[in-house]
Symmetry: none
Subunit: 257 residues, 2 copies
């Protein structure tokens, strides 16, 4: 094995601690600290980035943006991955549909894939998504109190508004996607809202970065089997989605970035 005192997993756990503490790590520093080559550190960081545990940058790595960060912050996290997911998801949108996009950073990326030629109506509780779409397609805004962490209107008024709609397709933002736990969220009111609109929709689709697969956030939204389609990244681990497939959920893989 190595002359270093650390097993791979230990080393990576330490790196994660450092990322959590200072927000960034330098490859050179880590190599010295762990008494390994920079090659090894780079492999670690690459592997961690592939698992969504850091952002790989020239010279080292940056902390991933926490999934509980406010919407406008989450939007800046892993944009290329979200764009790839968004492109794949947008292919499920057909002309004349009423599509619902709830407040999620990947849904903003999907909104940015929707042009006037889609010929759809989009309903959303997220002001940012409405802004992205209103010049291109018809937009129905869900009113109510805006929760800045969620990035959209949730709560009684928003649910009342959304309760007037029956979307053809609901594209659901998910904080966690797991065969057993289903689709989950970090905020209670967000989870309530998502569940309500999903159950009013003819079809439900969700998207998940590698980081979210096999994870569960604190609040249940819906079971995974209530979701017709799951869009995953091109390199999502087959193991992670095997049980989801077994529940009859159609898997769509995004293109390689």
């Amino acid at each position: 094995m190595t002359t270093s005192d650390f097993l791979v997993q230990e080393r990576q756990a330490r790196i994660r601690e450092k990322l959590a503490a200072s927000g960034r790590v330098l490859a050179g520093d880590l190599a010295v600290e762990f008494s390994v080559s920079e090659d090894t550190i780079r492999r670690d960081l690459r592997e961690m980035a592939a698992a969504g545990l850091c952002q790989r940058v020239y010279g080292g790595a940056l902390a991933p943006i926490p999934p509980t960060a406010p919407f406008m912050e989450r939007v800046t996290d892993q944009p290329e991955r979200k764009r790839a997911l968004a492109r794949a998801a947008a292919r499920s949108i057909e002309p004349a549909m009423l599509v619902f996009l709830d407040a999620s950073s990947t849904n903003l990326a999907i909104a940015e894939e929707i042009s006037a030629s889609f010929g759809v109506t989009v309903a959303t509780n997220a002001p940012r998504i409405a802004t992205a779409l209103m010049e291109s397609v018809d937009v129905i805004l869900i009113g109510g109190m805006v929760d800045r962490r969620v990035g959209g209107a949730v709560g009684g008024k928003a649910s009342s508004d959304a309760g007037l709609l029956r979307p053809d397709l609901c594209i659901l933002g998910a904080c966690g996607v797991d065969a057993e736990a289903g689709i989950t969220a970090f905020q209670l009111e967000d989870a309530e809202f998502k569940r309500m609109i999903a159950r009013r929709s003819r079809a439900v689709m969700t998207t998940a970065t590698v980081k979210k697969l096999g994870t569960a956030a604190p609040y249940d939204v819906i079971g995974i089997a209530e979701c017709e389609r799951l869009v995953v990244e091109h390199d999502a681990d087959g193991e992670a989605i095997r049980d989801i497939v077994a529940l009859g959920v159609e898997i769509i893989r995004a293109d390689k970035i």
Copy 2:
């Protein structure tokens, strides 16, 4: 690597924070601050501009402007004048108020003057205004069908939503302001919406660039006497506002640009 303490992405993230905070950055200052050459900063800014994260200008960069479109076209029309009006208007906003900002480009400028320290709740039918405010203050979103020319939700659903509110202060976007014609708008549904929310508010204030004074758009909103305050530019012609003053409307002049 670099002799600087910052990874590229960190540097650009800081630049984005500065743009968000002050609306502009100077290349020379950034080079000193980050201990890199101005060449490097210029490359950063060029790259960020290409990604839509800033506007590249001689000497530095400005905060990005969203895509051009009807509402957004109005936003980019005479921004300095609107900012001056916005600053003057914002001084009428007091802590704990429920303020209503309908969809207007000057109201977006006003939204951008409102920080968390205002301690207010803002209700709006404009997604772009909600997006600008949701990180700073409590935002109540008015739902309904978004009219892209208006830049906000109007019509039956929006009126129904707004009908639940009684704002302390309604800041009304005006397309025309005239002693005889009063406050007028270019779209019928927009005029209906404005009238409804103005009449539910304790106080109404409006703003007018020199261009709008003494003009009338096709659809009546309210009479000028129903408006307590009118914010005009520092150089607004006394002749143009004389009759408005005679109707008991308080005039506030914006600062010189």
